[in-house]
């Protein structure tokens, strides 16, 4: 496992919360940032802040170089064939919206179908609802089974000649399920559909190789992988990007502007109107360097071991039910659970007093919770800086929850 001293790299983890050591278990929402990322951000603003792709002077050149180096770095991180296939966005949500508004409007027609799954985050549902309503297309959903796995046996029925796009998560932000993207992509392509992968929860936690996945689009965010908020990327095959109409109009994305019309730059600049988020994209590369210092395979292994430990420990707490796959080969470290007799909000409140940060609510996945028959759940999610000790603190905290809420309610043993 990754040694515990890695925690020293994260200034925020050094503080106490309600007079107890902070146990941060909400990395699926956003990760914490190592000191070198924070320092790189300060260095950018103190030493070479300038607008990109415009200036002749030294600072502008240096900022442009760093910004484009970051693009190369991000491309290499997911094994994209060309850096021009990386479009910087505000994050995963904007990347998915970019595809819906540009590729979607140009390619989705009345009667077409878009296949999603029932475990999607709202950011991979709502943009397609907007597109479908506008174009008269239809959304269909691949369900998941009681063990939190996608019901692949229904794929053949749902994939038809009307299916133009399959958009799915690579790793569920609630159930932790790692989906079989390669197989689904193969079958989608055979049916003539393109595939968009929501990599918000996978790219930070395991090696992701777009060429191995075979998908057509990948959306992901910097802030869930030790980088800053407000930066992310869309990766897409160059031929797709080249054929797609622009997203936002403005400076930086044009070749020539006349009074009635304009011509546009080649990808990726066609999709990056206005001054981009220069600082955060540059610093994202620092975060990637940091993660690759451990190796994504090592981070995945760390989380696999920690998840196995967490699932075993949580099973020991009476009244706790964990959702998602039991087999850690099939899941990542986002662990949703409920405590009988205690609402997730109360669970999170009590845990907060113990210094433990977990998430309570629907985690932007209402259809998934409805499918589970829940309106909310509690979620603990892991990253490289979490330790078995964090899990022990969590299970001790859940005992406090039980003491507070169960003597008054009839709790059935599970």
């Amino acid at each position: 496992m990754i040694p515990e001293r890695v925690r020293e790299d994260f200034p925020i983890l050094q503080q106490r919360m309600h007079d107890k050591p902070l146990v941060y278990l909400d990395s699926a929402a956003t990760s914490q940032k190592p000191r070198i990322v924070l320092e790189a951000l300060t260095r950018y603003y103190e030493e070479y802040n300038a607008n990109v792709h415009r200036g002749i002077y030294f600072l502008a050149e240096k900022a442009t170089q760093a910004y484009e180096d970051a693009r190369v770095r991000v491309a290499r991180f997911i094994n994209a064939p060309r850096p021009e296939e990386i479009v910087f966005t505000r994050g995963t949500t904007e990347a998915i919206n970019l595809v819906a508004y540009t590729w979607g409007r140009a390619n989705i027609r009345a009667g077409d179908e878009i296949l999603l799954t029932e475990m999607e985050h709202h950011s991979n549902i709502v943009p397609w609802q907007l597109l479908a309503a506008e174009q008269g297309a239809r959304l269909r959903y691949l369900p998941f089974d009681g063990a939190g796995r996608l019901a692949l046996e229904e794929l053949d029925t749902l994939l038809t000649e009307r299916t133009k796009l399959v958009a799915l998560t690579h790793q569920s932000n609630v159930l932790g399920t790692i989906t079989p993207v390669e197989e689904i992509t193969r079958r989608a392509h055979a049916a003539g559909a393109l595939v968009l992968v929501d990599g918000a929860q996978s790219v930070p936690h395991m090696p992701v190789d777009v060429q191995a996945l075979g998908c057509d689009f990948l959306a992901f965010s910097a802030h869930k992988m030790c980088g800053p908020t407000g930066a992310g990327a869309l990766w897409a095959r160059y031929d797709l990007l080249d054929a797609m109409p622009p997203f936002h109009g403005g400076g930086e994305m044009i070749m020539l502007v006349q009074l009635d019309s304009s011509t546009y730059k080649d990808p990726p600049y066609k999709f990056e109107a206005g001054t981009p988020n220069i600082a955060d994209c540059i610093v994202w590369a620092t975060a990637i360097d940091y993660l690759e210092g451990f190796g994504l395979a090592a981070i995945r292994e760390h989380e696999r071991q920690l998840t196995r430990y967490a699932l075993a420990q949580l099973r020991e707490v009476r009244g706790v039910r964990v959702y998602g796959p039991e087999d850690v080969e099939q899941r990542g470290g986002a662990i949703a659970f409920d405590v009988q007799g205690a609402h997730p909000h109360d669970v999170a409140q009590v845990l907060d007093q113990e210094g433990i940060a977990v998430r309570a609510g629907h985690h932007c996945a209402q259809p998934l919770h409805r499918r589970l028959g829940l309106s909310a759940s509690t979620r603990a999610s892991l990253y490289l800086y979490n330790t078995p000790g964090d899990i022990d603190t969590l299970t001790r905290g859940l005992e406090v929850v039980r003491r507070l809420f169960t003597p008054r309610t009839a709790v059935r043993d599970r």
Partner: protein, 154 residues
């Protein structure tokens, strides 16, 4: 901030043993309150006789604060006119937003502890805001089920 302030014994008692819980078949006012972000959901049913609240029931699921507050409210409202009920809602909201309690002799006083946990105030006020909305729409001649929330700014 101590948890004891939030989870007072009387609150946990109402949560575990909610009063007036369940559907009310011949309700004159039906309101649904929901805070989707939290996952708090309530339905409130009011039966009237000669303009006086004869019975208030609630059902739903949610956190201890939202459920206990709804349970306490059903006890408080019985026998009140709609105008009195509306006044109680305003007094309760005022108490939850830091003003003096008008409920010192009742279980509701225990909910003052929630004020120390600002994000939970909306859990406590959900049932009350929903009831107020139901009363308002009933008086405007719209007796159909309405929806209320306390997640948007009140």
């Amino acid at each position: 901030m101590a948890l004891d302030d939030l989870y007072r014994e009387v609150i946990l008692d109402h949560y575990a043993h909610p009063r007036n819980r369940g559907h009310l078949a011949d309700a004159h006012i039906t309101v649904e309150g929901a805070n989707p972000l939290c996952g708090d959901e309530l339905s409130i049913y009011v039966r009237l006789e000669d303009g006086v609240i004869q019975d208030v029931h609630f059902e739903g699921r949610g956190c201890s604060i939202s459920q206990a507050s709804a349970s306490m409210m059903t006890e408080e409202m019985r026998g009140k006119t709609l105008a009195e009920a509306r006044g109680l809602v305003e007094s309760f909201k005022a108490m939850m937003h830091g003003q003096a309690s008008a409920f010192d002799e009742t279980d509701l006083a225990a909910l003052q502890g929630v004020r120390k946990f600002p994000v939970r105030v909306k859990c406590a006020t959900l049932a009350w805001v929903a009831l107020a909305q139901g009363i308002d729409e009933f008086q405007q001649g719209k007796p159909a089920a309405v929806r209320a929330t306390t997640e948007a700014p009140e």
